[in-house]
Symmetry: C2
Amino acid sequence: MSAHTDHAHTAAAPHDHAHCVADALTRADALCAERGARLTILRRRVLELVWSSHRPRGAYAILEDLSQQDGKATAPLTVYRALEFLVDQGLVHRIESLNAYVGCAAPGASHSGQFLVCEGCGDAAEIDDPSIRSAIDAAATVRGFRVQRPTVEVRGVCKDCQEKHP
Amino acid sequence: MSAHTDHAHTAAAPHDHAHCVADALTRADALCAERGARLTILRRRVLELVWSSHRPRGAYAILEDLSQQDGKATAPLTVYRALEFLVDQGLVHRIESLNAYVGCAAPGASHSGQFLVCEGCGDAAEIDDPSIRSAIDAAATVRGFRVQRPTVEVRGVCKDCQEKHP
DNA sequence: GCTCATGATGTTATTTTATAACATTTCTAA
DNA sequence: TTAGAAATGTTATAAAATAACATCATGAGC
């Protein structure tokens, strides 16, 4: 087991990634079944490809993987439609500042959509910090603004990368 | 004068927009002079076009305006390069979730880059809420993450649009 | 005033990201 | 089993951004 059992899995931290992906797929199966949402083969494959790294991946990277698996060209729409479904279900998040998609660490939970995006390794660590969320809600309320979807994407350098390049 | 003198200028609130833009340009002139940065004719024109509404504008919208003004096609790079300069100087912010650019309300100040983006009118109200910023800093610090550029873009519905469409 | 190094802009082409419009297939509920 | 809805396939195009290289402008130093 990893020396960092108290940490969330990241691209940098070594872990049993196959198991990690399998878990994500199992959770997705359960959530969709519960909701009556159809996690089709295609959507499930796209979800798996999103999870293939812990880093955000572009739609066209996923598209290439899909095309390669099938041995024939896949249309962009195929991927974009699957991604749209996955994002709607909260199984995947879109990182706006990267035009990329990443698997949600805790689907079914609150989903305030907060990320620490590392310039070094490209990892996007999802956090769910209630004080950030409540500060946003308070600021919005004061201005009479009704919040629908808060997005927090913090660019910077993660702990590991700081240690590697001091 | 507007009935809302205690509010920041927005796309929705009527105000002397020409004066508003002139102010922004004057502030930009002063800031760039102070820094030894070259706010060239082109960059100044692009800044003016960014300010032409209080809403975020796409690079290609600005490009079209520029082309129309000059009576000949302008290359995208021309606009992108000017925008890059303006963003670097903190005179313009990029709204990641809209692929669009908006004039900074308080250049020279902190720039934590927080926006309330209205789905109704398209307005992106810039706020600078210290408690959001400090909550982000705290969350990052706990994780050993060094913050370089925090981005907060809150999608929702502004006060005016809620009143118009209840 | 010249000159040259640097920064700014012009030009052409291409890449990356995303969607429109419509046809066909698959699934589900009656 | 069979409409109707949802999902996917197909083709084309739009929108956003950048690469590579040429030329022009500007200001510091002579």
